[in-house]
């Protein structure tokens, strides 16, 4: 069986702490196989962007496990020393709102 491109197990993300804590993701599971196209949909504030930020290693999860290409990236702590190199070499981004600041003059 092929190794999933993205594997998310019981992934959680909580912003803040104590009484003001906001739980944006609660134990999410997701598997994306190679060649598979997956869409995320949900109401505003349901955690779509947060999940993508976690998968892209832009934000640090607070629980669960994240693997990219079969390699564990986070399981309570970061397992990759250089996250920017990981993003550069293994993750591609297509922006939702391609503005001049992000796209046009840096082809």
């Amino acid at each position: 069986m092929a190794v999933p491109i993205v594997q998310v197990e019981r992934l959680s993300k909580t912003f803040g702490a104590g009484e003001t804590a906001v739980r944006a993701l609660a134990e999410v599971d997701l598997v994306v196989e190679a060649g598979e196209v997956v869409g995320l949909k949900g109401p505003s504030g349901s955690g779509k962007s947060t999940l993508l930020n976690l998968i892209a290693c832009i934000q640090e999860p607070t629980g669960g496990r994240l693997s990219i290409g079969g390699e564990t990236v986070w399981d309570g702590q970061w397992r990759v020393a250089d996250l920017r190199a990981l993003r550069r070499e293994r993750i591609g981004f297509i922006f939702q709102f391609p503005t001049p600041s992000t796209m046009s003059h840096w082809p």
């Binding site: 930020n53 832009i58 920017r84 922006f95 939702q96 600041s101 992000t102 046009s104 003059h105 840096w106």
Partner: protein
Amino acid sequence: MNLALADIRHKLGRFVLTCLGLGLLMAVALSMVGIYQGVVSEALALSRSLRADLWVVESGTRGPFAEASRIPGDVREMVARLPGVAAAGAITLRTAEAQAPQGTIRVQVIGYEPGRPGGPSAISTGRGLGGTRFEIVADARSGLPLGATLLLGRHRYQVVGTTRGLVSSGGDPLIFMHLRDSQDLQFRLAPAAARRALAAATGGGGTDTVNAIIARLHPGADPALVAEIAQRWKHLAALTDRQQSDLLTMSVVNRARVQLGMFTVVLLFVSAVIIALIIYTMTMDKLREIATLKLIGAPDRTIIGLVLQQALLLGGMAYVAAVAIVFSARDVFPRAVVLGPGEVTAMAGVIAVICLLGSLVSIRAALRIEPQQALGG
């Protein structure tokens, strides 16, 4: 591709205008350096032109530039006979306001004896003074053309020659005339005052007074030794040319020199702060772009290179603009703006250092930008 160039191309007009503005600021700083050098150069212009090895002046004074000095005209003969002296000439110096065709001008009048030391070292146009009185050689800075007449005191003088770059330590153009003419101008009393002086038996008729005797020495003669011999006459003091030059730069124009120097330093500090702010603003304008770079995994050196290259390009373009502005406008300045390769190169180094230091805050800020800022909005 080069990100710095791509970003500049994206906002080319704004970048060019910023460079021009910064270029004007740099031009002011560069011209201050040139004016500073010009003050020193102008102060030494006359003493260099006279090519004197020794200045003999009134005892107890450090004349004729730093202090007033009056000695009898016949001292020239005495100095000319000192061992080691090849030639000696008497000179007078006086600042005067004269009526020129273009209006009242301020000049420094040098009186000397043609054929003896004291005259201009080079004539730019026309000829030097001959045997005829009421002729003058004027520096081009006076605006007097050949053949023009100048009303000085009670007489009119005709310009027979011009020089270039000969001004006093105060920046006034030099006018050379016969010693006898300058003595009459400087020392002859008005008729009424002369009559009173004669009645009081205090003289009043004699004008054979000069401000200094300059001497050129034989090759190998020691100026300090000849100065020591001259000072044995109790009514005389003597300075070597080196002492006179030091006096001019360290005493006569010292305040102006220090003032200009301090102003230049303040101006460079202001420029440094403005450059740092411009670079910081340019960097903050690219907050989203830098965040995007981090998001897609660009290493820190790419971001540092982007800020640094833009800062150096900005400084380089501003420097080129400044040099072009100063060199095309320096003849318009009322005082000399002296800029040699040393000053121009040093300014390039100073601007490069300012740009590098000014980038540090921006680089620190750029490295603290979070990649998720690229996704906001």
